[in-house]
């Protein structure tokens, strides 16, 4: 057992499928979350509204909630007997629970703070003085958002995308609660590792776990290497 656990093994077909599925889930989640999180982060960074603190708290909740709690409520809310779940069934003919589409929705909620918070701080760093100057040059609020705010916040977009992708890759509790372990549909990497350990296949678990470890390091290195040094541009 102990000697076996230290040896690596080339991933088998089932594992390759899990890697592919995990990558797809993380990519779709990141691509869908970015356009949704951007206006939210912009509003949080620039609106004087009092409702802001409450919204910020809601956005940050996935950071502190146990994933099982989040997964449990998503399972309850999205099952075909509920309004939302029923709507999805009548539109697509499939249930949201224990499906890839359901995992995408769950991942978007689970990773929301990882996209919103880097964007929020990047937008906050866009000086109000520069936004005012753009306004006097004839730029409408929409124009200022797209042509002043977003270019100055590109560091935040890179950070948000990488963190969201990496965080979604590592998802476990939420998937287990509302997705289960269906090969090719909801069996993502962390579930595959869990299953390998349960069946005492430590070699297989090790190769996947080590891969995830390296991936996590590379993602964070990317953020610090390429997003960190542009700070002075934002400060203007």
């Amino acid at each position: 057992m102990v000697t076996k656990s230290t040896r690596l093994r080339v991933p088998v077909a089932g594992d390759l499928q899990a890697i592919w599925l995990t990558g797809l889930l993380a990519l779709v989640t990141t691509l869908l979350l970015m356009p949704l999180a951007t206006p939210l982060a912009w509003w949080l960074a620039r609106s004087p509204s009092r409702a802001k603190s409450a919204i910020e708290a809601v956005v940050a909740m996935p950071l502190v909630l146990p994933p099982t709690v989040l997964g449990f409520y998503l399972l309850v809310m999205l099952n075909p007997d509920t309004f939302l779940g029923g709507l999805w069934v009548s539109a697509t003919g499939e249930a949201l629970t224990f499906s890839f589409a359901g995992l995408v929705i769950a991942s978007m909620i689970y990773s929301l703070p990882f996209m919103v918070q880097p964007l929020h701080s990047a937008f906050r760093a866009v000086p109000e003085s520069v936004m005012e100057a753009a306004a006097t040059l004839g730029a409408s609020p929409r124009d200022r958002f797209f042509n002043v705010g977003i270019p100055l916040a590109r560091r935040g977009f890179l950070t948000g995308a990488v963190l969201t992708f990496a965080h979604t890759v590592g998802e476990f509790g939420v998937v287990l609660m509302m997705g289960g372990n269906i090969p090719g549909e909801t069996r993502v990497l962390s579930i595959a590792i869990y299953e390998h350990v349960e069946t005492l296949n430590y070699e297989a678990a090790h190769s996947l776990a080590l891969g995830l470890l390296c991936f996590a390091f590379l993602s964070l290195w990317l953020v610090y290497r390429f997003a960190g040094e542009r700070v002075e541009v934002i400060r203007g």
């Binding site: 005012e132 124009d143 203007g236």
Partner: protein
């Protein structure tokens, strides 16, 4: 064409109240002067629509820009007012080159305002060698020139200039002042020009507004409001025929002195006068030199003030 600007209202902040009741004819450039904290920059910001806390009425050329006095309050947002504001602190768009900053302004320029060409502005403000540089690498004076160029190229209907030349050295400043004077008289665009430099105000503006602690202290012809300390020769040559005035405020930072006389307020340049000093001011030969008026303390007429 009438370029009437009416402002009537106030802006309250925690530590500052700006009360304004102005009716200005902007057919010729108008100067704005006053000590630091008098509210000059805030007045420009109100006109640009950057102070949503302003309560009252603003109308430019008969067009209501802001009116909180009626039941149906109106507020024209900054980007629709067609003002060009050269900020004192430049406020260039970071991450863009000088050319990028100017292009940003030109792409959004209205068609009705000034019509200076890109090449003229770049040449007149000494920007040709800077065009491809990033704004982060510029000096204070260079940033100011880009900010002024950007405001001019946005083709404004109303040009608001907040000490646009102050960070440049004297030689450049005088050359650009001459250039600006030519452009402003050719374009006939309404201008409000904030400055502490009396030669700039004298050169560019026809009317002058002097502000003090959030209110307008006086408004009148620039030549009549601005005086200048004369050198020893000038004073002694014109001994005896002066207008009596008393120093009401001095401003060590900005090197100007506010005088109160029978005909109203006047301002003079650097001197070591103190509030309460009695002085004589005299009109010298107006508009032919910088020394329009002579000034000396009454008590020591034989040792006249020098600059």
């Amino acid at each position: 064409m009438s370029h009437r600007l009416v402002i009537d209202g106030q802006l309250e902040r925690a530590d500052f109240v700006l009360k304004l009741a102005l009716d200005i004819d902007l057919s010729l450039p108008v100067g704005l002067m006053g000590a630091t904290g008098a509210g000059k920059t805030t007045l420009l910001r109100i006109l640009a629509g950057l102070e949503p806390g302003f309560r009252g009425r603003i109308a430019f050329c008969g067009e209501a820009w802001s009116d909180t006095t009626r039941a149906s309050a109106c507020f024209i947002p900054t980007h629709q007012r067609g003002v060009g504001l050269a900020f004192q602190d430049s406020r260039l768009l970071p991450g863009r080159t000088v050319r990028g900053n100017l292009a940003f302004a030109m792409r959004r320029a209205s068609q009705e305002g000034m019509s200076l060409s890109f090449d003229d502005v770049v040449k007149g403000l000494y920007l040709a060698d800077l065009l491809e540089q990033s704004t982060e690498s510029l000096s204070g004076g260079e940033r100011q020139r880009v900010a002024l160029a950007r405001a001019l190229l946005s083709k404004p209907r109303l040009l608001l200039l907040d000490e646009p030349l102050s960070a440049n050295d004297t030689e450049r400043r005088l050359a650009m002042l001459a250039q600006l004077a030519i452009w402003l008289s050719a374009e006939k665009v309404p201008v409000l020009y904030v400055s502490h430099a009396q030669e700039e105000l004298r050169r560019l503006t026809h009317q002058l507004i002097i502000m003090e602690r959030g209110a307008v202290r006086s408004q009148g012809e620039t030549a009549a409001l601005l005086t200048r300390a004369m050198d020893a020769d000038g004073v002694s040559n014109h001994h005896g025929d002066g207008e009596e005035a008393i120093v009401v405020a001095t401003d060590a930072d900005e090197l100007s002195v506010v005088l109160e006389r029978a005909a109203g307020t006047a301002v003079t340049g650097p001197s070591d006068l103190a509030p309460g000093d009695r002085v004589l001011i005299r009109r010298f030969t107006p508009d032919t030199s910088r020394r329009d008026l002579a000034l000396q303390p009454q008590s020591k007429q034989d040792e006249p003030e020098t600059e």
